[in-house]
């Protein structure tokens, strides 16, 4: 071996596949018998991998910057000037305060399950970006807002996956077919329970509550929303306001009394 090279240099040459013939055999023998050398080889190998990871991270970082611009251009976020917001906001706030009290009272006494549903239902947003060519028909239809196509595509599935059930339930809600939404969400809960899985667990809970509302079953919605309302870590916690709970309790009580 070249006398000018240290053991480390030779290990790196070995690692990079630059050795051959007697040199290769000699270093292999050394590595096999010298634990320290073997450990250094492993350490150098990992360092080499670390460099590759570093390079990949740099590439991702630079593509990230580029893609954030591209994606932002596709879905431009509404720009709200803070100055304008304050200027007009303060004026509007004064008027709103005046009418808010009477509106609240009116809302409380005129609330119906249907109104609560309409006020609170927002279809699950699958994605804001352009669709993937590989998405299945159901997913693509959902992304494009073709809810009846989602329902039709679901019927064609022999073995629907959790996402299919969930999207079909949301499509049913958009089409105001609450029983179908309830059936799909309940089925998804059963699938989760049977497989000890947690697909869309929190989402199912929230949308099932809404589906019951749309199905004129506020008493069924109440315990679900009580749970979400009490759980500050629930992703939908913020959507269940104390005011909504007040109205829901009143509707559930009304329904209990009427039966």
């Amino acid at each position: 071996m070249n006398e000018n090279f240290t053991n480390s240099d030779i290990l790196i040459q070995y690692l990079d596949g630059e050795l051959e013939g007697e040199q290769l055999l000699a270093i292999r023998e050394k590595i096999a018998t010298d634990k320290n050398l073997a450990a250094e080889l492993e350490s150098l190998r990992l360092t080499r991998t670390a460099v590759a990871t570093y390079g990949l991270k740099k590439t991702i970082g630079s593509v990230h910057t580029e893609m954030m611009k591209e994606l932002a251009n596709q879905t431009p976020a509404p720009v709200i000037s803070m100055r304008n917001l304050l200027k007009y906001g303060l004026r509007v706030a004064a008027v709103l305060l005046l009418v808010a009290g009477s509106a609240a009272v009116f809302q409380y006494f005129t609330a119906t399950p249907e109104k609560l549903f309409n006020d609170n239902f927002e279809a699950y947003q699958l994605t804001e970006t352009r669709g993937n060519a590989n998405s299945n028909l159901l997913e693509t239809a959902y992304k494009n807002g073709r809810m009846q196509d989602v329902m039709d595509a679901f019927k064609q599935l022999t073995v629907p996956q959790p996402q299919d059930y969930f999207l079909q339930a949301n499509a049913a809600l958009r089409l105001r077919n609450a029983p179908a939404a309830i059936a799909s969400l309940q089925m998804l809960q059963k699938i989760n329970a049977g497989n000890n899985a947690h697909y869309y667990e929190d989402d199912i809970e929230y949308y099932l509550g809404l589906a019951y509302l749309d199905n004129n079953q506020p008493a069924m919605t109440l315990p679900i929303f009580e749970r979400i309302h009490a759980d500050k870590n629930h992703p939908y916690h913020k959507k269940i306001s104390p005011w909504l709970m007040q109205k829901l309790r009143r509707l559930a009580d009304q329904q209990a009394v009427s039966r």
Partner: protein
Amino acid sequence: MGTERQLPDSIILAVLRSDKAPDEAIRQLYRSQFGVVANYIKQNNGTDEDAEDIFQEALLSFIEMVRKDKFRGESSIGTFFYAIARNTWLNELKKRGRSKLRDEKFEKAKDATEMDISHYIVHRELRAKLMRTIDSLGETCKKILLAFYYENLAIKDILQNLQYENEQVVRNKKYKCLKQLEQMIVTDTQLAENLQSILHE
């Protein structure tokens, strides 16, 4: 902007496994996956910034798994990528210690993950520390090591880009730089002890 062609999963995987620059495959993953992942994170206590950070972490893990043949297209890229991003985010939430309840949910969710990917979701801090260590290496060393071990350029090609006398000088510099970096890592006990798991080896 809507005219870029969508690559099928098989092509994306082939590009990521090859020696070719992964940039276009990464762009495709952004176009098809970023919205889904960002939605999930934002609906689960995350911010826009969290979504961007987690997406980049998930990309890194995903590409490394593809390159190590841990994902061969058994499910769609979308399903697999979502699982990685979700686990990365749940790990982050756990680390932030939002609540005991969230931890319990995390444990349940982790058990239910069909694909054994938890091994690939490393502590982000350790990986970041490793990246900072490499960052602190001199610019010339970084250029040579990246050219050789990331871009897979031949010594003669590296020689053209850097001002050295001949190929042997570049080789010697490469040995010196790799050894220097190895020493920087080895002397950091935390990094040295966790290097294998950080690099998914």
